[in-house]
């Protein structure tokens, strides 16, 4: 890729100088031109750079396996996916789990349940934690995607992948958060410890829901880029950065409840900056993923 003549030779220096995202779109386009898409490369790219909005959906789909690497079969696969969605929807409508008035998120939930065979006997049954997570993610995804089918599939595959891939490492994330917080700002950690708020931090929202509904969409997309491309550690760093950013506000708080309450309702203004810093931190500690050319 470095030798690619189509790329501007200056692009190697943009990063050094501090420019970002100058050539990313172009390189992504080059990546997307390969006929059997190189999923590995796409993964690396997504980890390394923020995805351009216009290609985000496509890349996510490919990374999550909704679309095969072969672009030839995309049409057919999309057709399948559509039909499957329609079938599911129809079935749910038939069994009256879904009405026209049912919110789209619930439709997604029911579909997911139907597909995973966990559809409750009655729609009124209470939701499990997984369902909540799905609803949260689906809400966020629905915001991001225009197409219901895409949204559903992304939700489904995202949840599946998340559960399959990171299901094991999820319980360890709070620990690693503690670890990195110690490295970054031990005072804050001490303060949190002293308040015994560390255990009461909103881990569910942060890690299980992947910040869905917690961060504004634009920021969330960038986090999810990393998650989808195969790193759940980013969640830790986002959480860490949130803590660091609001340190000044957290320090005076002594009650764990108030801290939790505040962290659950953080201001939404400069989340982009938080995410950028978090990604920097992530790169700093995990290291920039190397392109396997």
């Amino acid at each position: 890729m470095a030798e690619d003549p189509q790329r501007n030779f200056r692009s190697h220096y943009y990063e050094k100088v501090g420019f970002r995202g100058v050539e990313e779109k172009k390189s992504l386009e080059i990546l997307l031109k390969d006929d059997p898409l190189d999923v590995e490369k796409l993964c690396t790219f997504a980890q390394r750079y923020p995805l351009p909005t216009m290609y985000r959906t496509l890349v996510w789909k490919v990374l999550l396996g909704i679309l095969p690497p072969h672009s030839e079969s995309h049409a057919a696969v999309i057709l399948f996916r559509n039909e499957q969605y329609q079938d599911l929807l129809q079935a749910l409508q038939v069994i009256r789990f879904v009405q026209d008035s049912t919110p789209q998120v619930w439709v997604y939930l029911r579909m997911y349940q139907l597909e995973s065979g966990t559809l409750p006997r009655h729609p009124s049954q209470s939701l499990g934690p997984e369902d909540k997570m799905l609803i949260a993610i689906a809400e966020a995804m629905e915001e991001m995607m225009e197409n219901d089918v895409d949204a559903y599939w992304l939700v489904k595959c995202f949840v599946k992948q998340f559960n399959n891939k990171y299901g094991d490492s999820l319980p360890h994330l709070p620990k690693s958060l503690e670890h990195y917080l110690n490295l970054e700002d031990s005072k804050l950690l001490a303060h949190l410890n002293s308040c015994s708020a560390l255990s009461k931090l909103p881990y569910d929202v942060w890690f299980k829901h992947c910040f869905a509904g917690y961060l504004p969409e634009s920021s969330l997309q960038r986090v999810w880029d990393k998650v989808i491309s195969g790193s759940c550690k980013i969640l830790v760093f986002v959480a860490l950065e949130i803590l660091l950013t609001f340190k000044m506000k957290l320090m005076p708080m002594n009650k764990a409840e108030s801290i939790t309450q505040f962290l659950l309702n953080i201001p939404q203004e400069n989340t982009d900056a938080i995410i950028s810093k978090a990604i920097d931190l992530w790169h700093k500690y995990i290291g920039t993923p190397v392109h396997s050319v």
Partner: protein, 1177 residues
């Protein structure tokens, strides 16, 4: 403000005789005027003036400042409205405007001007009119812009007053008319000078009317004769004249002078530049006329010398002519009513004499000269100065003789009588007489002195023709007057000659051409008048002489002061009247400087004289005629001097020109004399007939009433007239004074200009000096330039020589260069040849190298061959050895044979064996050869096949990759499909459960339709539980079936694989109940849809089809091209096999076992290409 009353009262105190008090009061009034803005005080002063004619009031009022001007003008306007105060109001206005106050420009908007104009148009009171006109004349240049508004009024006033003289609507005394006329004359000049175009057009329109023609002829035309053409008539327009912008450029005195410039009247005219030329010319004309005139009577007089009648007759004849003509000249006619021609018309002779010679300047130098010369040569002094004067006036010489004879004839007493008579009034006229007297008195050098003088002057004289005339005249004179007068005449002639010589330019034409021809209308009439005058003069012989006595006295005084040689004149004076003498002495005693008698003096001087005052005038005019220019010039000068001396007293206008002004002057003079005489007569009471005669002629209204005779007081009317006359005179005086002031202003300005001019001249001189210096500089610079040029030339020459030298050198060098170039060319040619040869050599070298390479290559080949041959040789040697061994064996065997040849059979046998062996050996050799060939062929074949194999492998690899690709793709799709299928499964499951639930609900809630049996119910429950499992499978089956109809992708593969399922009827949900029994079997038969994605693409499967298509595209071309080749190879191999098989009949010993590739092997080779096999299949 408590003071106004007091101040008003104070006004009365202005008349106080106490000087201190007067000053104080005046100061108070002025202060009050300064502080107070009200009209009260001004009005009071005006009233005071109107009542008392107070001089201090005039002084104060004329100095009145800005805020009061309005009050003053208003007050004056009021007064102007009342007939009683009109005159004093106008007089006051005149006083005020003569001071030229700063607010004068406001006047033309003030109502007082309108009312003044109105009064002038309507009033019949001559005194007022005269005063008003004079005020108007003074006012006009001050407010020139008023012309626009009131121009027509001015013109109307002019027209009315001009007509007055003829029509005399007011029946006023003639004396007034003269004053009025003089002022109208001045108005005429002013209007003509200021608004020529408008004025002329007005005149044109106004006098083109028939009723006005007479007025024009009588009044206006003579006035027009006193002006020259105004330049504005040519260049200006009516509008431009009235343009205020034009007038802004002029100051008051500018306008006055401008007006004077266009006048030809010496009294009015300006002496500034532009004037002098014209009058000169004019004067020359008149001179010519005089000369002509004087000469003609002179010639006449030649015939009749002695008789007075003779002298008189020609004059009468002349007089008759002018008499008729001069009637038109109202001015002149008016002047001398005593002539008796008409009561209005005055005999023109007087005016004629007065008018003709316009005064000219430049006399002062001559007079100065006279004084100088007089001091040098006392006796001849007179002649010389006269000559000096004569320069300008020829008639002087002629005129003396004319009166002389007349006087001589009439008054036999002596010539001296004539002399004083001539002298009177005019100094100049007196002088020639004196001279004559001197001459006559027995100065022998009379002839000498003129001659001398002539000698001095003849340098200038250049024309002989001119001199001839005086000579002729001289001769005539000599004849006439005899010895006594000879000298005198000679002197006169000499003078004449001098004059002519000096005046040659002007006079020449006059002398050459007949004088009468050149006479113009104007001058002609004048001449006649002159003659007439002469006549009248002769008529009244005594009067003039006596009348002029005082003048003589004055002149005498003057002359005496200036010249010592005047004494002789006194004698005749003495002899004539002791009174005169007394007066003269008196005058002498008073002071030398007192040249001119003040009016008092005059009066006193005249008092004793019994002669008429007016009579001397004719002589005067004659003399004026004789000395037109110089005389008038001198007169002017003298008058100005006198004026200066006498201060602001009455002018003594001695000029005798005919302009109305002159007439007025005369009138004043005469009037003064008459008055004095009257008074003297009243007091001494000595009436004389002469005087009575004079009185009759006087224009006084009471000429008939000889009240003086009766010794009673003069009647009021007379007194009133006289008083009015006095007022008029005063007005005139004031007007003249005003003019004089304007001239003074002008003079100051001109003086400044002169100073500037002299300064500029000096500057010019300095500049000239500088110029000279610079010229000197230029000269030196030119000199240095020449030197430099020489140097430059030298340098140039040197440079040229150097250049030539260098050129030569260059030429040589060029030659050298050419030769070098030629040699160079040759060398280059050689070089080229060499290069060519080198190239050839190189080519040869290359060839040789090639050859060497070839040979080396050949050598290598040869060495290879050689090695091969060596190996062959070695083989050969080995074979030879074998051969040798064999031959030795053979020999041995032969020996054996020979040994054993005992038996021939044995020998035969051995021979045969030998032969077979040889044959066998050869066979073996052939076989070896064949084997080697076959080996080679097979090896080649192997190589080919290997390459083919590689290709195939490559193809396979590609295909595998592609297959992998496709597999992946299909995998992806399949995964999608699978997930879909999973989803479907889930869906069906849920649906089934739903349905089951519904059923159960149905069964439980709804009343059983056909309740079978209790057992059945139990069974049905069991069945149902079973069905729960089986149904789901069925449904999925059903779904599959359904989908077969929809998308053909998956079913296409599965249908082929499970053909048995085709037979199966599609299970419908409705049939589920029936099929529930068969469910297990179906369940078993359920296809797992194992999609065989084999490595071998079958032509029947869809994927296979596609793969094959793709594959064929890639490999078919290769395979097709190779096939014929391989076939041929096979054929050849087969043929070889056959050959070998056929030839393998020879001994097996030498036979190398060779595998013959059968058709199977060939097939094996072909197996690689399964396409081909397929094709074959």
């Amino acid at each position: 403000m408590t003071q106004p009353v007091n101040v008003s009262d104070l006004v009365l105190l202005l008349e106080s005789t106490n000087l201190q008090m007067y000053e104080g009061v005046k100061g108070l009034v002025v202060d009050h005027l300064r502080s107070d803005r009200g009209p009260l005080l001004v009005n009071a002063i005006v009233d005071h003036y109107l009542e008392n004619d107070s001089l201090p009031a005039v002084q104060i009022l004329s100095a009145v400042q800005e805020p009061h001007d309005k009050h003053l003008l208003d007050r004056l306007n009021e007064c102007m409205g009342k007939a009683a105060t009109r005159l004093s109001a106008v007089t006051l206005l005149g006083h005020v405007i003569r001071r030229e106050p700063t607010w004068i420009h406001k006047l033309f908007r003030a109502p007082v001007l309108v009312s003044l104009l109105k009064c002038l148009k309507t009033e019949t009171e001559v005194v007022f009119l005269t005063t008003g006109v004079l005020v108007l004349i003074i006012l006009l240049p001050m407010i020139p812009q008023a012309g626009k508004q009131y121009l027509l009024d001015f013109f109307e006033i002019f027209g009315r007053l001009a007509a007055w003289n003829l029509q005399n609507p007011g029946k006023v005394p003639d004396v007034y008319l003269i004053h009025l006329h003089a002022s109208v004359y001045a108005l005429f000049h002013r209007l003509y000078g200021m608004y020529p175009c408008n004025f002329v057009s007005y005149l044109r329109s106004h006098y083109s009317l028939k009723e006005n023609v007479e007025i024009f002829e009588e009044v206006v035309k003579p006035m027009l004769e006193h002006v020259r053409i105004h330049p504005e008539l040519v260049t200006g327009t009516k509008d431009y004249e009235l343009d205020p912008i034009k007038w802004k450029r002029f100051e008051t005195h500018d306008i006055v002078i401008e007006c004077a410039k266009v006048s030809l009247d010496p009294k009015e005219a300006s002496c500034e530049e532009g004037y002098t030329v014209m009058p000169k010319h004019f004067s020359t004309h008149s001179q010519q006329k005089h000369i002509d005139h004087s000469s003609s009577p002179f010639s006449e007089s030649q015939s009749s010398i002695g008789s007075a009648s003779a002298t008189c007759t020609p004059r009468t004849t002349f007089s008759s002519l002018p008499g008729s003509q001069t009637q038109c000249r109202t001015l002149t006619s008016q002047r001398l009513p005593s002539e008796g021609l008409q009561d209005v018309l005055w005999s023109p002779s007087l005016s004629c004499g007065l008018s003709t010679p316009p005064s000219s300047r430049g006399l002062s130098p001559t007079s100065h000269e006279t004084s100088q010369s007089a001091s040098c040569l006392p006796p001849r002094v007179h002649s010389t100065p006269v000559g000096g004067k004569g320069q300008s006036t020829e008639p002087t010489t002629i005129s003396p003789p004319l009166p002389c004879p007349a006087v001589g004839n009439e008054l036999c007493s002596n010539l001296v009588t004539a002399a004083p008579s001539r002298k009177d009034g005019k100094l100049e006229t007196g002088k020639p007489l004196k001279r004559q007297e001197h001459v006559t008195s027995g100065d022998k050098g009379a002839t000498d002195s003129p001659c001398k003088w002539k000698d001095l002057e003849t340098e200038n004289a250049k024309t002989v023709s001119l001199k001839e005339l005086p000579e002729v005249i001289k001769g005539l004179n000599l004849q006439e007057y005899g010895t006594e007068k000879e000298n005198e005449e000679a002197a006169i002639a000499d003078e004449l000659s001098e004059i002519t010589s000096l005046k040659s330019l002007v006079i020449r034409g006059g002398f050459d051409s007949p004088f009468q021809h050149t006479t113009e209308m104007l001058t002609g009439s004048q001449i006649k008048r002159e003659q007439e005058f002469v006549y009248s003069a002769t008529e009244q012989e005594l009067h003039p002489e006596l009348h002029q006595v005082p003048f003589i006295v004055d002149k005498a005084q003057e002359l005496r002061t200036n010249k010592k040689g005047f004494v002789p004149i006194e004698k005749p004076n003495d002899s004539y009247s002791g009174s005169i003498k007394q007066e003269v002495i008196k005058a002498e005693s008073t002071s030398l400087e007192l040249h001119v008698p003040s009016p008092l003096f005059k009066v006193q001087a005249l008092r004793p004289s019994t002669l008429g005052t007016r009579h001397p005038l004719p002589y005067e005019h004659l003399f004026e005629l004789t000395l037109p220019k110089a005389a008038s010039l001198f007169v002017k000068q003298k008058t100005t001097e006198l004026q200066k001396l006498t201060g602001k007293q009455l002018e003594d206008p001695p000029s005798s020109l005919i302009s109305p002004l002159d007439v007025l002057d005369k009138l004043i003079q005469q009037g003064g004399d008459a008055h004095v005489k009257e008074l003297s007569r009243v007091y001494p009471g000595q009436p004389e007939p002469h005087i009575q005669r004079k009185m009759v002629r006087l224009p006084l209204p009471s000429k008939s009433a000889d009240w003086t005779h009766f010794g009673g007081s003069a009647p009021m009317d007379e007194l009133h007239t006289l008083r009015n006359q006095l007022i008029l005179l005063h007005n005139q005086l004031l007007y003249e004074r005003y003019k004089r002031e304007q001239h003074a202003v002008r003079n100051r300005r001109l003086l400044r200009k002169i100073l500037k001019a002299t300064a500029l001249e000096e500057q010019n001189l300095a500049m000239k000096d500088q110029l000279k210096l610079q010229e000197l500089d230029i000269g030196s610079l030119k000199h240095s330039l020449i030197v430099e040029q020489d140097q430059y030339q030298q340098l140039r020459k040197e440079k040229e020589s150097i250049i030539v030298h260098l050129n030569n050198q260059i030429a040589e060098l060029q030659k050298d260069r050419d030769s070098y170039r030629a040699s160079c060319q040759e060398l280059q040619n050689k070089l080229q040849d060499c290069q060519k040869t080198i190239g050839e050599l190189k080519l040869e070298l290359q060839k040789a190298n090639n050859k060497a390479c070839n040979t080396a290559y050949l050598l290598n080949q040869m060495t290879e061959k050689f090695t091969s041959t060596q190996s062959v040789q070695q083989q050969m040697e080995w074979l030879n050895k074998q051969l040798l061994l064999l031959s030795e064996m053979n020999k041995m065997h032969m020996e054996k044979l020979i040994h054993s040849q005992m038996g021939s059979a044995q020998a035969m046998e051995t021979e045969m064996v030998q032969a077979t062996l040889i044959r066998e050996k050869e066979k073996m050799r052939n076989r070896i050869q064949q084997q080697v060939q076959r080996m080679e062929a097979s090896q080649r074949r192997i190589i080919e096949l290997e390459s083919q194999l590689n290709k195939k492998e490559h193809l396979l690899m590609e295909q595998k990759k592609y297959l992998e690709n496709v597999k992946n793709m299909a995998c992806g799709e399949l995964q999608a499909a699978e997930s879909r299928y999973e989803a479907q499964k889930c869906i069906t499951q849920t649906l089934q459960t739903e349905i089951l639930e519904l059923y159960s609900m149905l069964e439980q809630t709804g009343p059983p339709d056909k309740m079978p049996t209790a057992e059945n119910t139990a069974q049905s429950v069991e069945e149902r539980s079973e069905n729960v499992i089986s149904e789901s499978i069925n449904i999925s089956d059903a779904e599959n079936k359904n989908q077969q109809a929809k998308p053909p992708v998956i079913p296409s593969t599965s249908t082929d694989r499970s053909p048995n399922r085709k037979a199966q009827p599609p299970p419908l949900v409705t049939e589920l109940m029936d099929q529930s029994q068969d469910a297990p079997s179906i369940c078993l038969a359920q296809p797992t849809t194992p999609v065989t994605v084999g490595s071998y693409p079958s032509s029947k499967s869809f994927l296979g089809m596609r793969a094959r298509e793709l594959f064929r595209n890639k490999s078919e071309s290769q395979c097709d091209s190779e096939r014929p080749k391989m076939d041929s190879l096979l054929d050849s191999l087969k043929a070889e096999c056959h050959v070998e098989l056929g030839s393998s009949l020879g001994p097996l010993k030498l036979q190398v076992p060779v595998e013959v590739p059968g058709p199977e092997s060939v097939r094996q080779l072909n197996i690689m290409d399964y396409d081909e096999t397929h094709d074959q299949n």
